[in-house]
Symmetry: C2
Subunit: 197 residues, 2 copies
DNA sequence: GTCTATAATAAGATAGAC
DNA sequence: GTCTATCTTATTATAGAC
């Protein structure tokens, strides 16, 4: 068990180095040699752990998505009413984005890149399925207005993404909380069946 | 005047070829040789019209932004009440996105790319200034709730971007109109001071 | 499992003829 | 203003020692 520690460490260091360089330079502008150098290992070690550069890129993506999905779900309390669960989910989504700027930049980069295999994107859909179900539940309960689900989900996620960028550009504390609260208020005015909250 | 036509044509063909290839392959994955080949000209001609690849990329961006800004402003009727002008502006924004998929893909790609000079992005801000002013006017008139301007503008644009993606994925006609109308309803519920509309 | 050295290829940009 | 040919450099990935 202690022996495999070194190998896993190398793998992790390569993933972290790739994340940092991809987000500051882009995929194709980042040579594999620079990634391995940033990780403190050799080119040979990189290609021992990852078959090629595309695989390494996908692995970075999958690792981030898995971590993000776990963080989001961990904070969910199923005992709470649906509206509070959704608000909490959006808040955690925003907090995660603000506190993970490199991961967020990578996801944006990856998402808008051409020629990135959709199969890779689809592999993470299941981890977020419960959020879709939660929204459907809210609509069924009359907590959310009867908006077509794709429109509903898109509005929530896109708006939250925008709030993340705004919140990250503002100093932590009251100013940041005000941005998040204002964003949440607009979202709930937009989708909520009742008054604001 | 007729003599310069050939040269301008070459320039335009290079810009169009670059747009198509960048959106399907990405910036760094697209060799300049392929761009010139796609335009039906030689590498030499490309570097005669653009000093380097980065300049060509920026020129594609600026041309798209200029065209988009002109289309948006052209449809504006200053005689209309503020709310109708904003609704019309969002509708034209969505329509432009749906009918310009390559341009939209390029803007997304460019916007999320690292190392793209902010100075280039800033050069187009003035063309959209009137939209910011229009929103501020709506807040001053009490047509839009008193939401901090960055939050307000972000919510509108991000939601509209999401609606473009949804609308583009649906066949034109009733289905598409329903998506757009549903999106606009959510936006106005979110930001409007009065009832829905 | 990690290293150094290198093979094989492809990139951006230029030179000089026409 | 456009072409062909090419220079220079950088890239991904592999080979083989340790």
């Amino acid at each position: 068990m202690a022996d495999t520690g070194t190998s896993d460490d190398t793998r992790e260091k390569i993933l972290r180095s790739a994340l940092r360089l991809f987000t500051t330079q882009g995929f194709h502008a980042t040579p594999t040699a620079q990634i391995s150098r940033g990780a403190g290992v050799s080119t040979g070690a990189l290609f021992h752990h990852f078959t090629d550069k595309a695989t390494l890129t996908s692995e970075v993506y999958l690792a981030i998505k898995r971590e993000m999905a776990a963080d989001l779900r961990e904070g969910d309390d199923m005992a709470l009413p649906v509206r509070k669960r959704i608000t909490g989910g959006i808040r955690r989504y925003i907090e995660w984005g603000v506190s993970h700027p490199e991961e967020r930049a990578f996801l944006n980069l990856f998402y808008h890149s051409p020629n990135i295999c959709d199969a890779v994107k689809d592999r993470t859909y299941a981890d977020f399925r419960w959020l879709h179900d939660l929204c459907a539940e809210a609509v069924a309960e009359g907590v959310i207005r009867d908006v077509p689900h794709p429109v509903l989900f898109t509005v929530i996620v896109r708006t939250a993404d925008g709030i993340v960028d705004l919140a990250a550009a503002v100093p932590p504390g009251t100013a940041r909380e005000e941005v998040v609260d204002a964003g949440l208020a607009v979202i709930w005015h937009g989708i909520g069946a009742e008054g604001p909250g």
